[in-house]
Amino acid sequence: MMLAGGLLLALSAGLAQAGELRGTGDLGIAVERAKGSLQWLDTTHKTVLGRIEGLGDLSHASAVFSRDARYAYVFGRDGGLTKVDLLTGKIVNRIIQSGNSIGGAISQDGRYIAAANYTPGGVKIFDAETLELVVDIPAWSEELKGLSRVVGLEDATDNRFVFSLFDAGEIWIADLSDDPKQPKLTKFKNIGREPYDALVTPDARWYIAGLFGEDGIAVLDLWQPEKGVRRALPDYGRGQEKLPVYKMPHLETWAVSGNLAFIPGVGRHEVVIVDIETWQKVGTIPVAGQPVFVMARPDGRQLWVNFAFPHYDTVQVIDVPSRQIVHTMKPGKAVLHMEFTPRGEAVWLSVRDGNRLEVYDTRSFRKLTELPADAPSGIFFTSRAHRFGL
């Protein structure tokens, strides 16, 4: 493993030195959360190109990609923001931008990286080229007389970032289109208790925050923000007498297929189907556990679902048109994340306790290969570079 990794590194370094050209469209990374390293991946050849080390505390780490799909920006729990060159497999810049961070986003034009922070609560925006601070937006709340932790930071059209204040129950829009150094802030108050995560739909029109402190979701139409935040799905959430939630679902990607969104139930073993035109719940699909991620294959035909502890050894596939589970598998303990290849012929899974990545054919569900990785969590491919809200 070490040897093979070293050999690959040597090979790829050799490639770079020999001036061989290559694209980045099939490259990606998998986070090795305990080691503070990344596996550097090639999705065409289904290989690991090497290991990139020295990224700090990567619990709950996520990544976004530069507009040219050459660089990954990795947000670590310890406030580290690391810029990684996917052509050379090297860290080109690393800063510690806060005491405790939860993720971030890249602006529509690719020039700005925004990080959402717990400590100190707020958003910091950096130059994507140099990682120099452009602007610091403390999430100050009048009611709290203090800073709120920030979650659900997403990018949207017109070079806007949208984020939620967990402790204050607010949603803010920071508009960088006129002057990035002085973003125009629009604040929506009383949007609901404890927004814990959020997403924007693939067309960047709707910003949706999940609420932990109460049932329902908060919905903001980014085409008409002046209409304000409204509440929807009043019975979505924990409600009464549901199961304990051993891991909050992620809203990073709602599977959207046509006008339907498929979202993980909270405290229930189901996927909830929502009509985006009306924001009404139109159905549920019973599944094997509490969903963490419900991910749509890029064409929207299939949903792949993974689950919270103790059902996290299982993955299920739902066929969207029939709403039936068409495949159930048990890749191993602690399947934490799934990522589709750019056009979805294959999906990569991280099996944390099995210390491996697994790649499956999405048509036949055949396992194509396994690759060793140390307690892998998030998998991120460069195809995210050109999509909103990832």
Binding site: R33, A34, L58, S59, R77, N100, I102, Y118, Y246, M248
Partner: protein, 109 residues
């Protein structure tokens, strides 16, 4: 303040020693599992290094003056109104006590 915290630490250690003498410890194998469990499962909210996130920090500093039995209770039955679930189906009381003792000492890697 410093002296108080020192004597607190000493009395905690004495308490812990007394408790350890009085109750069975999880097996070495199970202790390994528990360490992994806390770092990984609890780490989703509290951080792999237990420095906190949406969950509170679980470092010795943060837990120093918290009530021992209260912390054990939190692990077993959760905290209503927060995201902390009860882990009773998966963790025994003796195991929860072992976890809290170790969190207060500085949790093993």
């Amino acid at each position: 303040m410093h002296r108080t915290s020192q004597s607190l630490v000493v009395s905690l250690m004495l308490l812990a020693a007394a408790a350890q003498a009085a109750e069975p410890l999880p097996s070495t194998e199970r202790q390994k599992e528990l360490v992994r469990f806390v770092r990984q499962e609890c780490g989703f909210c509290h951080g792999l290094k237990l420095t906190g996130g949406l969950g509170t920090p679980l470092t010795p500093d943060a837990l120093q003056d918290k009530d021992f039995d209260g912390l054990v209770g939190t692990i077993l039955t959760g905290r209503p109104g927060t995201a902390m679930p009860g882990w009773q189906p998966f963790i025994t009381e003796a195991e929860a006590r072992w976890i809290v003792r170790n969190l207060q000492k500085g949790f093993p890697q």
